[in-house]
Each structure stands twice: as structure tokens, then as C-alpha cells.
Symmetry: C2
Subunit: 345 residues, 2 copies
Amino acid sequence: MKKTTIHEIAKALNINASTVSRALNDSERVKAKTKDMVLTKARELGYTRNMLASNLRRNKSNTIGVVVPRISRYFFSSTIAGIEEMAYQAGYNVIICQSLEEIDRERKIIRNLMANRVDGILISVSMETQDPTHLTECFENGTPLVFFDRHVAGTRQTGKVLIDDVQGGFEATEHLIGQGCRKIAHLTAPLDVEIYKNRHKGYQSALKKHKISYDKNLVLVSQLSKDDGYRQAAKIVEELEGVDGIFSANDFAAIGAMNYLKERDIKIPDDIAITGFSNEPTSAVIEPALTTVDQSGAEIGRLACNLLLDYFENGTALVNDKTIMLPPKLIVRDSTQRKNYAFEL
Amino acid sequence: MKKTTIHEIAKALNINASTVSRALNDSERVKAKTKDMVLTKARELGYTRNMLASNLRRNKSNTIGVVVPRISRYFFSSTIAGIEEMAYQAGYNVIICQSLEEIDRERKIIRNLMANRVDGILISVSMETQDPTHLTECFENGTPLVFFDRHVAGTRQTGKVLIDDVQGGFEATEHLIGQGCRKIAHLTAPLDVEIYKNRHKGYQSALKKHKISYDKNLVLVSQLSKDDGYRQAAKIVEELEGVDGIFSANDFAAIGAMNYLKERDIKIPDDIAITGFSNEPTSAVIEPALTTVDQSGAEIGRLACNLLLDYFENGTALVNDKTIMLPPKLIVRDSTQRKNYAFEL
């Protein structure tokens, strides 16, 4: 079915197409009576404004591109909800893409977003993204880019909205020490991914502060799925002696580990205390409820989107190389609260 | 920063813009050597293809609009992930919008998607959407529309991908009866919302089949949040005598109800057995694990997107008034499995 054009409205009313165009754009050069007439006829003919045409004239699409590893992860769907909320208020559309943790797919997505002339890009990178060339090219082509949560360190000319992962890792680990844990294993993803590197750094510095020596055999690397956590817990129990605490860099692996420990009747938190990271909805529901670090996805999304909107209004100076660092929030629940230990550090 | 145009490439190479355009479009009318030269120069100048321009020429945007009540709900983020997966393979972008359960916002979103000339719309409507005028207008304007999950009954000229909610409600309720429940309360949302109407219908017909009389005092209506479930469970325990089973039309309210029952030391499933609906991730983790009905969000998303892609390829005949009905899947867990009852109906 064909879309109604302003030419058809003009013909039906026997006036100029340019008058119709001005009337639809609420121009002061058109009388109120004419405006009413045009709007009525436009509705009657089922006319809808063609944003494509005006986008092309302005060479912008009124669209923000958002790239996340996986849409269905709660943290990312929360950030997307926060982004959409701000973008909607400001009159922008949001195109959502998922890299599925693959760098090739991420590169393709970025090329496509550029070809579609998005006004800006918000990205949380894949686990494979170490070389940020495809991202720095965005800025060189005039498209501003803001990282949120997962970022590539050292990329200039971008904005960043991050959680202080070092602090988060430090607080989670120090909390375990305060509960009497002295041999703390750390479940993590590859340490060349910035956020995991930083959580690991926080883990190390808490150990150091409390004079517990760092043992790299206690640092177990995986993709941090629930199954990974289950397997790592088995390894901890069967191969590593005397572990009394686990700091997992996400909640999925922590929950997998808890499932193993519960199957083996190992008491949480008295035999092994455990903390996660991210405050996934399941972490509050599992028994015992999981101590974790809250990241507030919706807030990160809103701030990242705002940073981009700032750029649209005020140009690059305010945004580039700007990092907004949010404080993490340790949420203490039953998986770490030992009865015979008070938090005295 | 300005984007490089084909005119600048033409000027730099001292050839025609139309030759550059043909070379970039891989036309047979341009020699391989010229193509190489153009591509090299295009890369050098940072040229990216302008999809806006070609979209305008074709009067389509290569974009699918998706409207859901809330992006951060697991069921919806799973459908979005499924939609994005299929759209990506077919070379379409996905614009995601959330109605936040408000009809006014949903109307605005649809107008905006139409103005942006999306090629089609996938929608799961808000709880307030009873009048589908804004949706039927899409088709009248040449934009195909497919409902998934939450739909408006009786809308012609649309495709639908649905879960058989009547069957789901029936199976959940019959399962409770099979566990010995004889006074079953039903937590639901307003019954003019199609999916809740159908789940309630399934509840009624299971009672009828097993000669249990229907008592409308046992049907409790709310927005089905966790807090609503908690409050309704309190009402069931304090005001309604002898309830021994609860069928909740979603998992959130079921989990809220379980929290109340656990606080009051009412045994699940022996005193009150309980089932939810949707298979949210938390339902598997709570103790006892919650019996629920799986909806397979990712699969619904893939099918809905495919129906739209079918339309793009083959025109309206195959899609309009087509309904794909998926069977629900009852997942039996500990919240209903009474030790002294076998499932014999």
C-alpha cells in the first residue's frame, strides 16, 4: 500500500505543496485556518510524517545505537530500559543489537550502525574485544561513543559510565575476611577483560591490606556461567584444601557454586562463605540469599544516555574522555553472615 | 565532523560521482581496477555508506519496530533477544520501545515508528490496551503488524504468535487437583486482558472437569507484582478458609505469596500447593522450587520475527489473520509435589 504524500494533500486542497509542508511543520508563515485545513485533510488521507526524508536532509537519524553482549541478561536489559527511558524523553529512537560476546559480530554491528547514521553509540563490549579500532573509528567519523560497564581501557575520545570495580572487589573480599575467611578463592573471567581485571585487583588489595598472602592457584578462570561455577566449586572442594570463602565475579557462577556446595552438604556460610557480583534477581531468592555487589543497571543506562544527549547539545568537549564512576554497593545477605563472627576489621 | 561523500571520492580521483557510486555498489559496468581504486580511496577518506539515502529512495528503513510493556522483564528481554537474532540474520535493525503498560505512550510510540517508516511492527500490548485503533491503522497505512503473547482479540489483518493460555491455565490447575487440592485460589490480573482471561478460562474448565464448583471469591485480581502476591496470600490465609492450592497467573505474584506463606510457617506444598506461570529464572531458584508454565520467550520472538520476514518476502496473504499457537509446557517442581498424592486423574 502506498503512503500518502504532501503532494496528494496539496492536490486535494488545491493549494501548493510547500504550503502543506509549512503547515505540517507549524510554520508561522501559514495562517491558523490553513493549518487546521491541512491537518484535517492529512488525518483524513492517513498521512504520516516521513522522518526518513527529514533525517536525510539533516544527515542524522534521531537514533541512538546500543550494543550489548546479551539482551536477555538482567543487568543489560535493565541498562537498556534505563537508556530507552531517557532517549524516549529526548525524542530519540533506540536500535538495540547484541554481540553475543563475538568481536566479529560487534564489528559488523558498528559498521551497520554507522551506515544507518545513528547520532551516537552506547556500548558494553564483548569478552573478545581487546582491539578497539572499530570503536575509535566511530569518533573519527563524527559519531560520539559512550562505554558503559564493559569498556576498553585507554580509548580516547569516548565517554565512560562505569562501576568502580576495584572498590567492589575490595569490599566483597574484605567482607569475607571480616567474617573470618582466611583462604578465599576467586572465580573470574579472563583477566584481560577490564571489569574482571579490576575486580581481581580489588580482591588482591583486600588480601594485602589484611596480610593474607595471594595464591594464584586460588584464582579460577572461566566464562562464569552457572555450570562453570558448579565445576569450579567441585574443584575447590576436591583439589584445594581449606578454602573457607569464595568471591565470585558474577552471580551466575556464585549460584552454580552454591548448588554444588548444597548438594555436598557443605554449610554456607559456616564452612564456606560466598559472595557474588551484580545483584541478579535470583541472588535475593536463592537460599541462603547471596551476598553480592549491586550495579544498578537502570541508573548506568540513564547516565550513559544522558552523556550522549549532552554531546548532542553541547559538542564533544564535555563528553570525551569523561568518566562517570559509580560507587558499588555491597549487599550483605545470609551467604556470608556467620553467627560467630562480627565485622570488626 | 562532516561525513565523506561520494563526490569527495570522485573529486580526489578525478572521475565521475556516478562511477564512484557504481563502483561502491559493485556494478558490472565498472572495471575491477577502478573498483579497487575507489574502494581504497573510500577507506582512506573514511567513507561509510549512507543507508539513510538509499532507505529514502526505497521508502523503507530496513528496520523492525518492537514494542513491549517492559524491556527488563525476563520474558520480554528473552523475546527481544530472539527477535534480534532473526532480524540480524536477515539484515534488519530492531528499534525497541517500552510502553510501561500505558496506552498513551503506546500510541505515541506507534505514531513515531510509522513516521520513521519501519518496515513492520512486533508488539506485546500494555495492560491498558483494549482499543486497537492505533494498531489497525498500521496495516491500513501499509505497515504489517504481528502480535506476540499479549494481543487484542479480534483484530483483523495482523499476525499473532501466542501461547495457548487456556491450555496452560488448565494444566496448572489440573495438576493442583491431582495433588489433592480441592479449594484452589487464582491470582490474576484484570480479566479484560486477553492472556489473563484465557488463563482464567483454563482454571475454570479444569475445576469443571473435576466437578469442583467455581467460587468467584477465590479469584483475586491485582497487577500481579511480588507485593500483590504477598498481600493476596495474607488475604487467603486470614479471610478465606480452607484454601489448599494457589494458581497464580504469573511467577512474580506466586513468589510474593510463597514469601508470605514461609513467614507464617505454612507448609508448601503440604498445607498449600502453589503454581506460577512464565518460568522466570527466580522460579527455579526459590525454595521450594516453583511449579510453573514455560513460555519460551526466545522461541516466540523468533517465530514472530519470522512471520514478519515472511510478509516482507511474500506479501500479506500468508501473514494476515494467521495465528501461530504454541503449546505451553508445565514444569513440575517442589512447590506442588505432595508426598502422599500421586497424579491420578
